[in-house]
C-alpha cells in the first residue's frame, strides 16, 4: 500500500476516503484543466447526501476543460493520521492536495460547519484569511443557503455565489479562463457579475455599539447590492443523468429527482421558503425521464422526489402513480421527503406504500393554534387528528411529529399544547386501532431566527427558558407510547450567533479553529464553554447577535437581495404579532416582490 492507502486502511471507515465509486469522474491531469474541488464541510456520509454536490459535480465535469473533484471533512481519526504523517488532505478522485486546485468551492448548509471549513484549509496548508493567500493558492469560494448572510466568512472567502449555482458557476469558470487565470483580474471582473459577492471590495464601519453604520463598495465599478441568481426554466436546466453511488451507507442513499424549486406556503420562520422563491416546477415528463435515467445509471432501489414541499407539486398524484407503474417490476420504490397533514397526503401514501413501507414524519411546528397562526403554518388541529385517524386505520403504528421551541411570543401554554396533541393522538390510536404498538415520536428543535425571513429581527429565546421548556416536555411525555427527541439549545445558540453575525465573527472563527475547535454540529465535539472563552478572549459578546433588532437597523446581510422585499418581510412580521394568516401564494399573489425586477415574471 502507498502512504495514503495505508491511512485509508487504518481509518475507521475506509470507504469515506477511497473514492472510485461508480459514476465517479476521472480525467488525465496532464492537460490544461481548470481544477475545482467541491468541498463539503462535513463527513462523507452527510456530504454525499447533498443534492447540490451531485448537480455541480456532473455539470462541471461535463465540460471538457474542467475537472471537479470532491473533498469532505476528514473524521477525527483521519485528521490525526494526516497530521502524524505530515500529509495534506486529499481529493477522493486523484488524491491531490487542495493546493493543486484553481478553485475550492465550499457549500454552506449549516452554520455549525464553519469551523470545518477552516479545518479543511488548514489540513491543506492554505491560510485561513483571503488576504494572506497568494496567487499560487487556489481561489476559495462558497455558495449555498447560509451564503445569504456571507459576513461571518467574508474575510475567509475570496468570493460568494448568491442563489442557484448551475449557470453562474460555469460563467465564473469561463471568465477565469478568458482572463488567462489571473486571479486578481478575475476577482474584480467577477464582482460585477450579478449574483457574485467579492467581500474585499466592500467596506463596513460600525458605531460605538458595534451596530453597522455603513456598508459600501470601496472600489469604482463594484455594485452596491448583490441580487441572487435563479434558474428560470427548470425544464431546460441541467440535471445530472447520473450520480455517484457511494459504497457505504450514506444518510440519503437513493436516486434523487428534484421536482420543483421554491415553496408557496409562506411559513414565517422558514428561510428556505423565502430565499428559494419563486416556485418553478418541472413537467411530469421531464421528471419521469430524469428518474428513468438515474435508475438506469445508478442501480438504486429507491427514487426520492425532492423539493421543499413535495405534496404541493401540482400533479403529484398522477406523477406518483405513473412512476410506480413504471418501476414496480424492478422493485424500485418511491419515497417522499415530507408529508402534508391532509387527506390528500393519505391517498398518496396508500399508493406509495405498495412497494415499501416507511416511517411517517409530519411537521406541525407549534403546539397551539395561536402559535401556528403567528408563524403562518396553515395546519389546524382537525387536519392533524383526521390525518392520524386515517393513517392508523390504514395500519401504521409509527409516526413522528416535528415541533419548534422558542418561537416568537411562545409561552408555556403553547408548549403544554404539544403534550395535549400527544395525548389526543394516543387516544385516537386506541379508538381506531386494535393493535398496541403505537410509537409516537415527538421531536423538538430550537427556533433560530434566520436572515431574509419575516422573523429576522426577532430575538433568540434564552437558554434558561429553552431548557425549562425541554424539561417540561421530558416529564410530560413520559409514556410508553411516546418518544421525545430534543436538541441541545446551546448548539442552537451558536447557530443563532453565526446565522445573523457580521464580519467581526471572522476572527472568532479563526481563533476557534486555531484552538482546535471543529465538528460543532456533532454533539460529541461541541464544546460550548470553549466557544464562550473564545468570544471572551476577543471581547465580543455573542448575545449581541441574538438580540431583537429594530426595522431601522442596518442588518449585516442587507446588501444581499433574496428577491423578497424588506417591506414585505416587515409586513409579515407585523401580521404575525396579531396572528394574522397570509395565504399560500399559489392561491393568489401575496406581493412578496420576487416577480419584480431582474428576476422578472417567473411566477
Amino acid at each position: 500500500m502507498k502512504p495514503l492507502e495505508e491511512i485509508i486502511y487504518l481509518s475507521e471507515k475506509p470507504s469515506r476516503y477511497m473514492g472510485g465509486e461508480f459514476n465517479q469522474v476521472l480525467k488525465p491531469l496532464d492537460g490544461d484543466l481548470i481544477r475545482f474541488a467541491f468541498a463539503f464541510p462535513d463527513i462523507y456520509e452527510v456530504g454525499m447526501s447533498h443534492l447540490g454536490l451531485h448537480i455541480l459535480y456532473n455539470l462541471l465535469n461535463d465540460r471538457e476543460n474542467i475537472f471537479c473533484e470532491r473533498v469532505f471533512s476528514p473524521w477525527v481519526d483521519m485528521e490525526k493520521h494526516l497530521k502524524d504523517r505530515g500529509l495534506d488532505l486529499f481529493t477522493l478522485e486523484t488524491k491531490s492536495s487542495l493546493r493543486d486546485m484553481d478553485f475550492i468551492g465550499f457549500t454552506l448548509q449549516y452554520e455549525l460547519s464553519y469551523t470545518n471549513i477552516l479545518k479543511i484549509l488548514e489540513l491543506s496548508g492554505i491560510p485561513y484569511y483571503a488576504e494572506e493567500r497568494e496567487a499560487s493558492h487556489p481561489l476559495v469560494m462558497a455558495g449555498g443557503s447560509c451564503g445569504y448572510n456571507p459576513e461571518p466568512l467574508a474575510l475567509i472567502m475570496d468570493l460568494f455565489v448568491i442563489g442557484e449555482g448551475e449557470e453562474i458557476t460555469l460563467e465564473l469558470l469561463e471568465l477565469y479562463e478568458a482572463l488567462d487565470r489571473d486571479k486578481e483580474k478575475f476577482l474584480f471582473e467577477a464582482a460585477k457579475i450579478p449574483g457574485v459577492y467579492v467581500p474585499k471590495f466592500y467596506e463596513v464601519t460600525y458605531d460605538r455599539d458595534h451596530r453597522i453604520e455603513s456598508f459600501r463598495p470601496n472600489t469604482e465599478g463594484i455594485p452596491a447590492r448583490i441580487g441572487k441568481r435563479i434558474v428560470k426554466d427548470m425544464n431546460g436546466v441541467y440535471y445530472p443523468p447520473r450520480m455517484i453511488v457511494p459504497f457505504m451507507d450514506v444518510v440519503h442513499n437513493r436516486a434523487v429527482v428534484e421536482i420543483f424549486r421554491g415553496c408557496t406556503a409562506g411559513c414565517r420562520f422558514c428561510q428556505a421558503g423565502m430565499i428559494y422563491r419563486p416556485v418553478r416546477e418541472k413537467t411530469p415528463e421531464v421528471i419521469k425521464q430524469e428518474a428513468r435515467d438515474l435508475i438506469d445509471a445508478t442501480g438504486y432501489e429507491e427514487i426520492s422526489l425532492t423539493s421543499l414541499s413535495t405534496l404541493d407539486y401540482s400533479q403529484i398524484g398522477p406523477l406518483i402513480r405513473e412512476l410506480m407503474e413504471e418501476h414496480e417490476a424492478s422493485k424500485v420504490g418511491i419515497s417522499l421527503p415530507s408529508l402534508r397533514l391532509d387527506s390528500y397526503s393519505v391517498e398518496v401514501l396508500k399508493e406509495v406504500q405498495k412497494v415499501r413501507k416507511t416511517g411517517l414524519t409530519f411537521a406541525v411546528e407549534a403546539g397551539s393554534q395561536r402559535l401556528r397562526d403567528v408563524i403562518n403554518k396553515g395546519v389546524t388541529e382537525e387536519d392533524l387528528y383526521t390525518t392520524m385517524e386515517s393513517i392508523f386505520s390504514l395500519g401504521w403504528d409509527r409516526v413522528k411529529l416535528y415541533f419548534m421551541l422558542g418561537l416568537p411570543t411562545e409561552t408555556m401554554e403553547d408548549v403544554k399544547a404539544i403534550q395535549t396533541i400527544g395525548s389526543s393522538i394516543e387516544a385516537i390510536y386506541r379508538r381506531v386501532s386494535s393493535r398496541k404498538r403505537l410509537t409516537l415520536t415527538i421531536s423538538t428543535s430550537v427556533f433560530v431566527p434566520k436572515p431574509h425571513t419575516p422573523f429576522q429581527w426577532e430575538a433568540f429565546d434564552t437558554l434558561e427558558a429553552l431548557k425549562s421548556k425541554e424539561n417540561f416536555l421530558k416529564d410530560a411525555l413520559k409514556h410508553k407510547a411516546f418518544k421525545y427527541q430534543y436538541h441541545d439549545p446551546k448548539s442552537s445558540y451558536l447557530e443563532g450567533v453565526f446565522a445573523r453575525g457580521d464580519r467581526r465573527l471572522n476572527q472568532v472563527l479563526v481563533r476557534a479553529a486555531r484552538e482546535g475547535i471543529r465538528f460543532d454540529g456533532w454533539q460529541e465535539f461541541f464544546d460550548f464553554d470553549h466557544w464562550m472563552a473564545v468570544f471572551k478572549s476577543l471581547d465580543i459578546d455573542p448575545e449581541f447577535y441574538l438580540r431583537r433588532r429594530d426595522y431601522e437597523e442596518t442588518l449585516p446581510w442587507d446588501h444581499i437581495e433574496s428577491g423578497v422585499d424588506k417591506a414585505y418581510l416587515i409586513k409579515e412580521n407585523e401580521k404575525s404579532k396579531n396572528g394574522e394568516l397570509t395565504r399560500d401564494c399559489r392561491r393568489g399573489c401575496t406581493g412578496c416582490g420576487v416577480n419584480q425586477g431582474h428576476l422578472g415574471e417567473v411566477c
Partner: protein, 220 residues
C-alpha cells in the same frame, strides 16, 4: 428459479470495502446491468445474493465466488462481455454460468489460499526461521472471543495447511481452513508469527476450495 454463479476479482481500492458494502455494490451493479433479479416477498423485497466466503477489509482477491438468484435465466457470457458498463473498474467478472439449484456456497468452502506481500524490510532467514518454528509446533493456542463474548482458547496450528516464504517477491504463501467448520483469517496468523504493522501487508486471496470425494477441488 435459476442461479447465476460468478467468479470475480477484487482489485485496487475496492479492497477497502466491507463485506456488506461489497454485497450492496454487487446488487447495484447487477441492477445497472439489467440482470433480472429474483426478490424476496414482503414489505422490503431484497434480492438473493451470496458470497462463498466474506473477504476481510483490506484484502484483495483473485477468487470471489458468488451466487445470484434470477427471476429468469440469462446468458452469462453476454453479461461478462458487457460488464464494464455497470461494474466499478476494480471489480472484474472472470466467469459466469447458470446453476439449477444453489447448493449453499458458504457450506461448501473448506480452504483458501492467500499470498501476503511484505512492504517492509525483514531478512529472509528471520522470516523462514519463524515459519519453521511455527510449523514444528504440535499446537499453537490463541485466545479468541466468541460471538457471545466469552474468551476461548483456539488451536490454530491444524488450521494452517501450508505456509511458505517466497524470497523472490518477498511474500508469504498460506493455505488456511475456511468455512463454517474451521476458519482462520490470514491476518490472525500473521499477527501470531510477526509483529509487522498490518498496513504494510498486501493480502490477496488466490483460491477457494471445496472438498469432493476426499479431495480438494476449485470451488467455482
Amino acid at each position: 428459479m435459476p442461479f447465476l454463479q460468478l467468479l470475480a476479482k477484487k482489485e485496487g481500492n475496492l479492497r477497502f470495502l466491507s463485506h456488506l458494502e461489497t454485497h450492496k455494490m454487487l446488487e447495484r451493479s447487477l441492477r445497472r446491468a439489467g440482470v433480472p433479479l429474483a426478490f424476496s416477498q414482503g414489505f422490503n423485497p431484497h434480492p438473493n445474493i451470496s458470497f462463498a466466503a466474506p473477504l476481510p477489509v483490506g484484502t484483495l482477491s483473485d477468487y470471489e465466488v458468488i451466487h445470484v438468484e434470477l427471476a429468469v435465466g440469462i446468458d452469462p457470457g453476454e453479461l461478462i462481455a458487457r460488464q464494464r458498463c455497470c461494474f466499478p473498474g476494480d471489480f472484474v467478472l472472470l466467469k459466469g454460468k447458470l446453476v439449477e439449484k444453489s447448493p449453499s456456497l458458504m457450506k461448501e468452502v473448506v480452504r483458501s489460499d492467500y499470498r501476503v506481500t511484505l512492504n517492509l524490510s525483514c531478512a529472509a532467514e528471520e522470516i523462514e526461521d519463524r515459519i519453521r518454528e511455527f510449523l514444528n509446533q504440535d499446537s499453537h493456542l490463541i485466545r479468541k472471543r466468541t460471538k457471545k463474548g466469552r474468551i476461548n482458547d483456539l488451536d490454530i496450528r491444524p488450521q494452517v495447511r501450508t505456509l511458505t516464504y517466497d524470497e523472490k517477491d518477498h511474500s508469504i504463501f498460506m493455505s488456511l481452513d475456511t468455512g463454517s467448520v474451521s476458519n482462520l483469517k490470514p491476518l490472525v496468523l500473521m499477527k501470531e508469527l510477526f509483529d509487522f504493522p498490518e498496513e504494510k501487508l498486501d493480502v490477496r486471496r488466490t483460491m477457494l476450495y471445496k472438498s469432493k470425494d476426499g479431495e480438494l477441488i476449485e470451488l467455482y
